[in-house]
Amino acid sequence: MSANATSGFGYEEPLLFERSRSGRRGAEIPAPDVPPIDAAKLLGALARADLVGLPEVSEVDVVRHFTRLSTWNAAVDLGLYPLGSCTMKYNPKLNERVARLPGFAAAHPFSPAERVQGLLALCHSLEQLLAEISGMDRVTLQPAAGAQGELAGIMMIRAYHTARGEKRTRVLVPDSAHGTNPASAALNGYEVVSVASGADGILHPAAVAAAMNDQVAALMITNPNTLGLFERHIAEICEIVHARGGLVYGDGANLNALLGIARPGDMGIDVMHLNLHKTFSTPHGGGGPGAGPVAVKEILAPHLPVPVVVRRADGAFAWQSDLPGSIGRLHGQHGNVGMLVRAYTYILSLGAAGLRRCSEMAVLNANYLLARLADHFHVPYPGTVMHECVLSDRNLAETGVTTLDVAKRLIDHGYHPPTIYFPLIVPGALMIEPTESESLEGLDRFADALLEIAAEAKSDPDRVRSAPHRTRLRRLDETLAARKPVLRWQPDDSSR
């Protein structure tokens, strides 16, 4: 087996609460330099008697606990992590260092603007850079993640129609879209109408025209789409939507394919979010935090969330909150600024040419993997792809091996699996996004592993179906977890 990973020690580690021993602690609190206060007396009936339920562990207990837990994770810094549409690229260490500078990490959102000019300047510059990269006019940095960006974008679209005296009720979403798209539209009170992709995997003007009427507020579209295909009718589709008074929302999850090559704003997109944790290298952190700035055309600028950062005539930066058409405030403060600092650092490091090179290599890598795998895995939509490719398990049907089994067997080879069973329009989908971070040799090793699994599916299908074999835990029972939910530890837990 072409495994590129074996484990060192596979440590066992209980829950913190099971490590807990009465009287232990991992942090000392400074001795008081003021008179003590009797909290029970001051707070009366509102006082808490004891913090039952928090663990009692020493600092070294805590350090070993979390260090051991960390060894059970796959990570970009350990190897290829080809989750499609998640853009698991390398996260430069400089980004982490600068985000920890006290002038950023300990700055306060309620400091007067004139006392935090460095941060406002950074936000202002980042807005301009993202506007240029996306081909849009204005940017808000407030949304904390892509989904919150979608929410903001759809709210701005609603505000736009309302300002024109129109009440539209529907949003069109292609069947290949991320689940966040219909959920964001619904969270705004819109009826979601699904539009079918064509046999070639992309959206066709006729399908949009058939669904388009004066009840439609917007079309949400991801380009490249979740099949990794460029929506080449995008300009015509935008014209159809615009002609009936609708707007076009662009889901920027897949922008890593287009940096410096093409810009959504030049295609007719009116509003889009950018996932800084995907395209702009901020770390994914085991599920976040991300950042989902939204870029808009001038027609939507009156509806941007407040506050917006502006440059005054004297060159100083300030917050502006009096924007009568604004959708309001979306975040408690100014968004996930720590992530903005990292993304800004990344853009300055790469520069114009580096950004373009990054997309070129991401697209080359995806096409190379597709070429190496196409003879052995079913390719539902053949052709040149952009930053990711989608395969399926159809060729393995006779073996009884499914996409889930292939994914679990990849783990034995030392790889995080691709995104699986998505997009929904491909049964048994394996959605692979290698990013620009991988070398030719690294891609070849990954392709070899997948080919080996395809062969093994025929020679020893049970071995594949019972994978993973080399992890600390074997396949986990997700059905049991949902049927009998245990969502916290309790001392009397009988399963201990």
């Binding site: 602690r25 928090l54 990570a75 959102p109 090559i261 935090p289 190496r372």
Partner: protein, 434 residues
Amino acid sequence: MLARTGHARLEDLFAPIPAALRLARALKVPEAQSEQEVFEHLTALAAKNEHAQAGPWFLGAGSYAHYLPSAVDALVSRAEFTTSYTPYQPEISQGTLQAIFEWQTMICALTGLEVANASMYDGASATAEAALMALRLTRRRKVVVAAGLHPHYLQVLETYLGGLGASIVTLPLAGDGSSALPAQAIDDQTACCIVQQPSFFGTIEDLRAAAAVTRASGALLVVTVTEALSLALLEAPGALGADLVCGEAQSFGVPIAFGGPHLGFLAARSAQVRQLPGRLVGQTVDAEGRRGFVLTLSTREQHIRRERATSNICTNQGLCLLMATVYLALLGRRGLRELAELNLAKAEYAKARIRSSQRLRLPFSGPTFNEFVVGLAEPAERVLERARDAGVVAGLDLAPFAPALGPALLMCVTELASRDSIDRAVTLLAGTSS
């Protein structure tokens, strides 16, 4: 590689993009810079910001300055945590999954509720999501907001509810600084009442009374917490009758970072779990019967349920959740309580000094934790500017938020404030030093 893909030139890979849509010029982005150059540029930008490590700091209002133990950053900086993603593949994500399960357990303990999710964006969006959850659970259309809700949280709530036809009723502040919840404000269309504990003005609210009056109308009580450390001293809101407890856990080891990334949390009772937004980790077993953890009940979520999901949230605040879990483990049952007692004692010391000042006053009489309102003899903007010139960030000017209070500021005293710095701040606020 191009030979293998069957393309003659790199540009041919982009043939699917119509020529008219391609960018014919280079991006107007500065040319690449070396790591050293970028570092120097960012260091210069950072130097232009005042920050909580530069001197005495009494500004909180939702983003709190606490000491960050060294082990927190050391552990969360491990690449296995930082450069992984949502634990979709549990066999190689057990580290993240177990940590989330521990977080869920600790939030349940702190809030007195039975189920907590794997984080929301921040306290403001957590509060908005709690209100949306209450609307779904009760099928009612009105949200009543007590006076002490953080003004930015109220604004975010208005934004989130804007497209759904639900109404928001805000109540006035009582004379003693508490957030009264009169029975007549709540009717059979009220989905929930939102009460912040302690309030934006620092006042510790009577949640028992709030729960009683809310329950009487069949509405849910949502308790929002912006200073999570207060939970170490205050009775768990769930034990006092809160149905949903949400808020901001930035105080648990997360840097202020100009207001984000912070750490929203949301807890509920088990019977309501199907309406809870966000990710959940559950315990299960592997094929050999050993305990392990997985993402679960995902039929609530957008990637399965699409437009019928409980929320559109996908990416959350995972790494901040880990910071807080490490922080709570380090401080633990005794340390967190001692730290909260120290915050209370320092705040009470500051209040005593203010009480004895001729030019300052404490307009509100109710109990507080580590934050309170200070009445001033001259406009807060002027006082704060003078204190800043002397190196002290003394609080938040309340003029934009509560003009009826007259000249006043919101002062937060945490463990970082020494007795000397408190004395100095009070002197500066009174304006008797210069």
